[in-house]
């Protein structure tokens, strides 16, 4: 699994969270949905998205003594998702579905209206960094500074990713002036 660039992931003994850190249960409960959505926007596979979100939360838990002290630990978790999603093949989803019947679980899919599904398909067609920036921009209305923190790049770079990504989406989706959804 490609974890290059991932925030520190040393699986050592847990350290107690610093004073004032949020309770991990609250953090996980508040972040899980957004993490799953972000991961799905990048992979298009709900099973893989659930795994990615869970991996990010587990990674946060293992280092909660450090991560819990961050101003925005959710940013850290999104970075884990972004980094790991890039290396996540759809194959894992196929393998899961192939044997999912044994486990009594049907195919896990996200059902969206065609225009919404088309939009996220187009997002996944963007270069990885553009897709990540665009997904964070729309899913969570994140500021450029926040997105830069997640992606680990300069704010100016994020602005470029967003601008190019949005224009590419307009082309892919065939949006022209005067169109309405």
């Amino acid at each position: 699994m490609d974890t290059a660039g991932e925030p520190v992931l040393d699986p050592g003994p847990e350290a107690p969270p610093p004073a004032g850190a949020p309770w991990f249960g609250d953090f996980a409960r508040a972040e899980r949905r957004s993490l799953v959505a972000f991961a799905w926007s990048l992979t298009g596979d709900l099973g893989a998205a659930e795994d990615l979100a869970q991996e990010a939360l587990e990674a946060a838990w293992r280092q909660w003594g450090r991560v819990g002290g961050y101003d925005r630990p959710g940013t850290w978790a999104r970075r884990v998702v972004a980094n790991r999603a890039a290396g996540r093949s759809r194959r894992s989803g196929r393998e899961r579905r192939a044997n999912g019947r044994w486990f009594g679980r049907g195919d896990a899919v996200v059902t969206l209206d065609p225009p919404d599904d088309e939009f996220w398909t187009a997002v996944r067609g963007l270069p990885a960094r553009q897709a990540q920036a665009v997904a964070l921009h729309y899913l969570e209305d994140r500021s450029v500074a926040d997105i830069a923190a997640v992606l680990g790049c300069a704010e100016a770079t994020v602005r470029v990713h967003l601008h190019r990504g949005r224009l590419a989406l307009a082309r892919t989706l065939g949006l022209t002036e005067g169109d309405e959804r």
Partner: protein, 525 residues
């Protein structure tokens, strides 16, 4: 209009589209996010167990869940079993993926032909007390028109007797059937279900069978697992019977059996190449059970594989279909199912036809290769294998007015430590031919148990502590295992333990060296 102004206008359209798509996506993943908080072993965060279907009927249209793949670090280690009671169904949920275990029968099959680029990915033994998500035992008997060329293609009535825990209520409109409370659900076909003293019975009609017919059949199913002939429509006869695992889930009842089985998975070896996977399931089953998979898959037909009567179907529903499957019974008695994703039916059938008996040690070798290809190694499995000739009672006690028993057992190639309490049991196991890991830990949560409980097995000389925030450290009493250098432990967590918090079990050996640590959530509610 300047180019810049044009761009801004177009970007505004993209933004509008993007915000709408984002809102829709966040709504769509909500069930999955809530489910993940609980059934996904809840290593983090609070438990929000999603309802497992406690009655026949198609599963929800989306986000029905996935098998959890959590790396292979516990492939050989004892895995945690969590008992959750959801909607009246006891679900044994593996904290990690099923264990890869040596053993099995001499008649098991492996792929003899695979498409180019496809190779073995994993070998897992499941069921039989091993770690299998959502195990529910029980029977299903199906009735259809005995004069029809293919009675499964017409209307059917089925009766399911599942050993789920009573409680929670199956849901639906309340009626009285044979003098007892029952519930009618007409969401997708008609089903009538009710709790018995030790489980749940459900009678379901396929689409096209009206409510009166199903209710009449339910009246005749008081002696389940069968329906009295007089309560059946004219011409209806029994056309299938077997354990629930013959149905393979597939969007239907979703029940799973408890029979020991083997799952081999083959995937396209090149991540950039064909995106496909095929799984081969083998478990004991009856000839009459072959057709049961037709209950849970709409697109099926009779077929033949390896000279045996088979059911061929496809459950593909989302992007990337087809997802074909075929099920038959081998002369050895193994009910065998081959299912695929991203492969066409012809390829799948060729794989099925090409299955061959495994050579001695071949499956075990495959498991070893799987582990080698996996992530970190499992926790220690040092020490000689434990010789269990019979069930061993490690200890008993009473908590909150009910007796608990801690047992050592061996089933289906797994040895396990099992805690029985208030009519249900939770267990966690390790391969029988390996030494007992230094720390075997199970946990059980659920509405039918009065409190969360941690239990397990450690080596002699070990010390076990359980830390729960805002509570004093718990030091459970250690229970010697007769004639073995092993100790069992059972620790009920204190009332008032905050749901969503986590507790940590730490094991140190005789030298004070930490040999095991598990973090588990305290269930919510």
């Amino acid at each position: 209009m300047t180019p810049e102004a044009h761009d801004e206008a177009v970007l505004a359209l993209v933004d509008e589209r993007g915000r709408a798509a984002a809102a829709a996506l966040l709504t769509a993943v909500e069930p999955a996010a809530r489910r993940d908080g609980g059934s996904r072993a809840g290593r983090v965060g609070p438990s929000h167990p999603d309802a497992r279907p406690g009655r026949p009927g198609p599963a929800a249209g989306h986000a029905t869940g996935t098998q959890r793949r959590r790396g292979r670090r516990v492939v050989l280690a004892a895995a945690v079993v969590i008992v959750v009671v959801v909607g009246g169904v006891i679900a044994l949920t593996g904290g990690d993926e099923p264990s890869t275990v040596a053993g099995g029968t001499a008649d098991e099959l492996v792929a003899g032909w695979l498409p180019e680029g496809m190779a073995a990915s994993s070998a897992q033994r499941v069921g039989g007390g091993a770690i299998l998500p959502d195990q529910v035992g029980g029977m299903v008997v199906v009735y259809g028109d005995g004069a029809a060329a293919d009675p499964w293609a017409g209307p059917t009535l089925s009766v399911v007797s599942a050993d789920v825990a009573p409680g929670g209520g199956p849901g639906g409109e309340r009626i009285t059937v044979s003098g007892h409370d029952a519930f009618v659900d007409e969401a997708n076909g008609v089903s009538v279900s009710w709790d018995t003293g030790d489980g749940r019975i459900a009678v379901r009609g396929s689409v096209g069978v009206d409510r009166a017919t199903v209710v009449a059949a339910a009246e005749g199913a008081a002696g389940a697992p069968t329906i009295a002939p007089t309560a059946l429509p004219p011409g209806f006869v029994e056309i299938g019977r077997g354990t629930l695992d013959a149905m393979m889930g597939g969007g239907g009842p979703g029940y799973l059996g408890r029979g020991a089985g083997l799952v081999l998975t083959y995937v396209a070896g090149d991540p950039s190449g064909p995106d496909a996977a095929v799984s081969v399931f083998q478990r004991p089953g009856a000839e009459d059970a072959v057709d049961l998979v037709r209950l849970t898959s709409a697109s099926t037909r009779p077929g033949e594989v390896r000279g045996r009567a088979a059911v061929v179907g496809d459950t593909g529903s989302g992007p990337g279909a087809p997802e074909p499957f075929v099920q038959w019974r081998e002369p050895s008695g193994l009910l065998t199912t081959v299912s695929g994703a991203g492969v066409d039916e012809a390829t799948l059938l060729r794989i099925a036809e090409g299955l061959r008996p495994a050579q001695p040690g071949e499956i075990e070798g495959l498991a070893v290769r799987t582990e080698d290809a996996g992530a970190s190694s499992p926790s220690g499995t040092d020490g000689s294998a434990l010789a269990l000739t019979s069930e061993v009672v490690v200890g008993t006690g009473v908590h909150d007015g009910a007796e608990w028993r801690l047992l050592l057992t061996e089933r289906g190639g797994l040895q396990q430590v099992e805690l029985s309490y208030r009519g249900s049991a939770a267990s966690t196991g390790w391969p029988a031919d390996r030494g007992v890991p230094p720390f075997v830990h199970g946990t059980s949560t659920g509405a039918t148990w009065s409190a969360p409980v941690a239990f397990g097995l450690v080596h002699a000389g070990s010390r076990v502590t359980i830390d729960l925030p805002e509570f004093d450290t718990i030091v459970p009493q250690l229970l010697p295992v007769e004639d073995e250098d092993l100790l069992g432990f059972v620790a009920f967590l204190p009332p008032g333990a905050p749901g969503g918090a986590t507790y940590t079990v730490v094991v140190t050996d005789a030298t004070g060296t930490e040999v095991g640590r598990e973090v588990q959530p305290v269930p919510v509610g």
